[in-house]
Symmetry: C2
Subunit: 412 residues, 2 copies
């Protein structure tokens, strides 16, 4: 079936889904969870096909681990759906309301987008996760997963669609798009009028392609060249903890720090200390000339400052002032998360006001920019754009609004 036909089916499903009550949606989510567990063997068997293909194709072990499903991992997917059922429904929330001078009753109410397209790579568990988040927020989902997980995704979506239908909601609320070629991505990007929003989750090149070529509105996610700036007024113990956690707690996430900026006043005190700790933690330090004098530091090239390593590497520069740090971040940052470590109210206030990013951390690790950490209960991605949603996107970020105005024959 063509993507346009699937999108048209999704639109029809979206009409019913938008009118579904929270109770109906939660019942569907719980049934989806139950069925995933019941059918775990089938899903794991389908996954084995993908894993075998990946091995034949010579995929790296880390990649194969991410692809592999076990009964435990399927159970975790089901738990994710149950957690969604427990979250409040954003649909119907009154965002703004008033009675106008002429007696008109104005209410701005949250409504689903309608049809949401999600393009993603990596783990097949994203399939259940994205389907669930869309369903809870009243949106029909068009899921375009990775070609490497085709068999797994087909098995998961088949189970989910049956559960949705058995719960009395339209099965076409969850649809998997063909992942055997790039054509489905292209069709999805041009399905303006049928698809309301497109969320690409993946590498920088996928996101760039979608942003440039899509006529469907896009929410850009993810690329993070995050900085930690250690101010001259920093508590050095806190600074050390924040830098190490931001860089090393997990290497491959978008909220991992990729660059460290140290105030020049700390060149003889904090700088050698943090470099030593980073090197001890197995991190390759790419330093500017003042940093490269320290042992174990690799001289940074011009390319280093803009790199999102996603690996055990960090670029480190010395800056002469807070404003130089701000300039550096303005030049190389990607608007994801920027952190300052400082005890100075003046410095943190200026940094928070002047950094142009989705999240600013004051004396806290960049790793906290996360829907789960923020208490949203669910996350569909982290937006690095300014339109509609910025930062971690939970259920309300998957909705639009509608004004409902009630009168009694009112005219102008």
């Amino acid at each position: 079936m063509s993507v346009l036909q699937q999108a048209a089916d999704a639109r029809i499903a979206a009409i019913e889904l938008a009118a579904a009550t929270r109770a109906e949606k939660d019942a569907a989510l719980l049934l989806m969870a139950e069925r995933l567990v019941e059918r775990a063997d089938d899903i794991v068997a389908a996954n084995a096909v993908d894993v075998a293909n990946a091995r034949t194709g010579g995929s790296a072990d880390a990649m194969i681990d991410r692809l592999t499903l076990t009964a435990e991992r399927v159970a975790a997917m089901a738990d994710g759906l149950r957690q969604l059922a427990a979250l409040p429904d954003p649909v119907g929330d009154v965002v703004r309301g008033s009675t106008l001078a002429n007696g008109l009753e104005l209410r701005q109410v949250r409504v689903p987008f309608g049809v949401v397209g999600i393009i993603y790579e990596g783990r097949p568990n994203v399939t259940a996760d994205a389907a669930g988040i869309c369903l809870k927020s009243g949106n029909a989902a068009l899921l375009r997963g990775s070609g490497s997980a085709m068999s797994s995704n087909a098995a998961i979506v088949s189970v989910l669609r049956k559960a949705v239908a058995d719960a009395g909601l339209p099965a076409d609320a969850v649809q998997l798009l063909d992942a055997s070629s790039r054509d489905s991505v292209k069709e999805l990007m041009r399905a303006r009028g049928l698809v309301d929003v497109l969320i690409p989750r993946g590498g920088a090149s996928l996101i760039k392609t979608v942003v440039e070529e899509s006529t469907v509105p896009v929410i850009e996610t993810g690329v993070g060249n995050c900085h930690v700036y250690v101010d001259e007024a920093a508590d050095l113990e806190k600074a050390l903890a924040v830098v190490l956690n931001s860089k090393t707690q997990r290497l491959s996430t978008c909220n991992t720090a990729e660059s460290l900026l140290v105030h020049a006043a700390l060149v003889d005190t904090f700088l050698p200390l943090v470099v030593e700790e980073l090197v001890n933690a197995g991190v390759t330090v790419h330093g500017d000339p003042r940093v490269a004098q320290l042992s174990g530091v690799v001289p940074a090239t011009d390319d280093d400052w803009g790199r999102e390593y996603l690996s055990a590497d960090i670029s480190v520069a010395v800056v002469d002032s807070l404003d130089d740090a701000l300039d550096h971040i303005r030049t190389y940052g990607t608007g994801h998360t920027e952190a300052i470590v400082s005890e100075s109210v003046t410095a943190t206030r200026r940094f928070a006001a002047r950094v142009d990013a989705a999240a600013v951390m004051i004396n806290a690790s960049t790793r906290f920019t996360d829907g789960g950490e923020f208490g949203f209960g669910a996350e569909i991605g982290i937006s690095t754009q300014k339109l509609h949603a910025r930062g971690p996107m939970g259920l309300p970020e998957l909705t639009s609004t509608k004004y409902v105005v009630t009168g009694n024959g009112h005219t102008r």
Copy 2:
């Protein structure tokens, strides 16, 4: 100067503007107003050049009237700026805030977009209006007005820039783009990274071009094929008032009704009455076969149902049920404003839930979808898209948000 250079200058100005206090911005707005009045003669003289060119070019009288500035109209522009100064500043509003379980203090704060591009046609007063709205919301404005108002816009922007600078804010917060060719529009659409959002205000073809070609995020505005549905349970007096007001109060606005749907139960009662009143008001009624039997009605063609007439024309169809009305609106509506007239709670509830539009009017004229009527105090346009803003856009809709998270050395 190239658009890219102007956009780069705007970005620098935007940094200062984002940090400006409300008091500083209001002082600038009041000085802008004062200077417009002081320099009204110069502005009117510059406008006379545009008007003379328009006459030579054979523009219609209505077009020339819209283009023409007088001392009174300049004073009205100044009043608009003063009203903006009186409105609350959206920047700094805390949209969401909490203390997380680990003690991190989370705040989601409104921040300006940065640089906003506005493409508009028609009246030169939009120039002052758009500049003021952007400045109040902390955004630098790149204004691309109509070629026909080039001289007027240059005079207005020159006065405004001087006032902004004299008030201590960066003059490049307000910049006029070359309107002598389409090149500036093209450059603006490709200035991703320098321009944060683009708002096209104008005809359907301009909006379509921008939506399809822009890599800068776009907020789509304005096209309205608005319907009034008169339900079988309507109070016919209210219905008559709402239909006539929706169609005839002003013909050329996007919230004017272009189509009337009448429930079949009212074919012998309300239908002849409303058609007669519309014809008496000088409106050409394009009716479906059941409507075309009435005197004075022109048979509708297939094209009529999707048309935004912006003139003294209306398409009228008989529908057999509320759901048929919903289907018709789903097929032909543009997602702007849809109205129902009914005394039935069941009917209005179903209509409000199922119509996919920026605004739903219950027993009220479609003409109420307006920032002024909604009490927003200012309006930059009416969004018909679902992403970011939907419906009339006031000052908060010209902002993004930023998470500011404060800890005490917190790590994960």
